[in-house]
Symmetry: C2
Subunit: 318 residues, 2 copies
């Protein structure tokens, strides 16, 4: 049993204490997915909670979007492992007053998200509670699984898509404004990056992580797991149209894009991968010997905070 | 895609509406587990929520018991499919004031439950909310999966263990009393019936279901899925020491024992299976042509209500 090192932060201290108590019953906790070797290939598994007033507010999303977003967040963990989606299981807790139509719309949104990446709804559970609370468990298969732990000095760092859209929507809502439609879509119905994750794995990806905790948080996880140092040039970040500054985009979580360490020279193949999958790829930095993450803004070392779901999200939304 | 018919009841009407909306993205929803054919064998998957003030009250259970019980409830779905446990994923939402030690104890209890049946903790997720809310997803492998749908006229009906203990504990707590230790244990730390489920599958089980919704509810599910009629003699039910009447035991949910349809003549093999697995087996009835469930008490047809988690549990505990 090997447990991957995690980056710093309160959430990860809590996880460390759990890992100690769970002991040898636990398997490699700390990556985006658990990997289970199985005769026909490697299974990738992950579970992810989406909770009203912690991860979203009811007024921001339609019922179908609540389901889509919860499923897309979980599917993002499969993408980060370079895995195809077999399917999802959805444990849905709904407010007691919810109609059967509302329940069906939420589950239907989750089904649409997994259907969009070729997977299926494998199971579900229904309970009544005070608020919407969805736990989506994803089941995938990886021909060549990519953990957070394989980055090596000399690798290039790339990100998929554009960053900062989801945070821009969140900031608008929290400021009492209706977000720009593009930013709203980034938050409400992110596209799971399964296809590009699989393509990056096939193209030789060494380490990959999704940006659910923001680049500030997740780059540190990848650096810690790989025991390397990441150097990221914030001026190169691909910004969503309404993202604000590069620093905002790097701090914001919930984008569900991928950060990936590729062998040097990937640049010559990147355009082809981007064209085949329809997902832009941008080189944002490099891997060096050392530890931690160096963020550069106009060439100057800059602090970028992570996003602690356990503390920050309830503080903002609760 | 085949969706198994479900028994009557409000919870199942809600599930039917979801199945309609999910459409062809859904796979055989309505059994204890989803079954995924996979090169090395059949995977069995299920997800199950355990929520404070819906399924238990905080004062009734230690932290380790909260975790154990949540995992055991989900593992019971694997047992009912005749599957071995590969592992569990646990999405844990904890009250904001919970200590790191409390989180570790809850996760540790879940790890102990899956460890007791030879499985592992494959993954987890941590979030902060108003109350304890655990979703456990189980991953198993079945050499010979047993659904709810294979019962045939002439089969015998058997149950594992003893019934009514968990309900007796629940009734004591709700009446302001401390339950008898045996009844308390039935509620707080049920033993997942994985070993006996696998043994029953190997011995030719035709259909199997766990008794989470009580015999009154789950016998109807098995009858509906198999399109047969079940005749159950309540006088034969194996009662837990503190169970009260046979009718109480048949109505009470949360026992996590198994109801199984075996080929006629299983009686000659039953003692051997019981001895090897350490789990008593009791013949309680038979399968006939027809529909529905006939419960007999002293030879007289008797109504036995099911247990609707969506309605009954919140009404009693909420």
């Amino acid at each position: 049993v090997s447990h991957l090192p995690l980056g710093p932060g309160g959430e990860f201290d809590r996880i460390r204490q759990i890992i100690e108590r769970v002991g040898s019953t636990g398997v490699a906790l700390g990556d985006d997915c658990a990997l289970v070797e199985w005769p026909g290939g490697t299974l990738a598994l992950s579970t992810d909670a989406t909770i009203e007033d912690v991860h979203f507010r009811r007024a921001w999303l339609t019922e179908a979007e609540i389901g889509w977003r919860a499923a897309a967040r979980a599917l993002s963990d499969l993408a980060a492992e370079g895995a195809e989606a077999l399917g999802i299981l959805v444990a849905l807790t709904a407010p007691r007053a919810a109609t059967a139509e509302a329940l069906a719309e939420v589950m239907g949104g989750a089904a649409d998200a997994v259907g969009a990446v070729g997977g299926r709804v494998l199971g579900g559970d229904l309970a009544a509670g005070d608020r919407w609370h969805l736990v989506v468990t994803v089941v995938g298969a990886a021909a060549r699984p990519v953990t957070r732990a394989g980055a090596e000095p000399g690798n290039e760092l790339w990100v998929t898509g554009a960053l900062g859209g989801a945070r821009a929507a969140l900031d608008a809502w929290l400021g009492g404004l209706e977000p720009d439609p593009t930013a709203r879509r980034a938050f409400a119905s992110p596209t799971p990056r399964i296809a590009v994750g699989v393509a990056l794995a096939a193209a030789g990806a060494r380490a990959m992580v999704d940006l659910s905790d923001g680049l500030g948080g997740d780059a540190r996880h990848l650096a810690a797991a790989s025991a390397t140092r990441l150097v990221i040039d914030l001026d190169r970040l691909p910004l969503a149209p309404t993202a604000g500054s590069a620093l905002d985009a790097a701090r914001g979580g919930e984008d569900y894009e991928l950060l990936v360490a590729m062998p040097a020279g990937f640049g010559s193949a990147a355009a082809g991968v981007a064209e085949r999958t329809g997902v832009p790829l941008t080189k944002v930095g490099r891997v060096e010997a050392g530890t931690g993450v160096l963020f550069l803004l106009a060439g100057v070392e800059t602090e970028v905070a992570g996003w602690d779901h356990f503390v920050d999200a309830p503080r903002r939304l609760g």
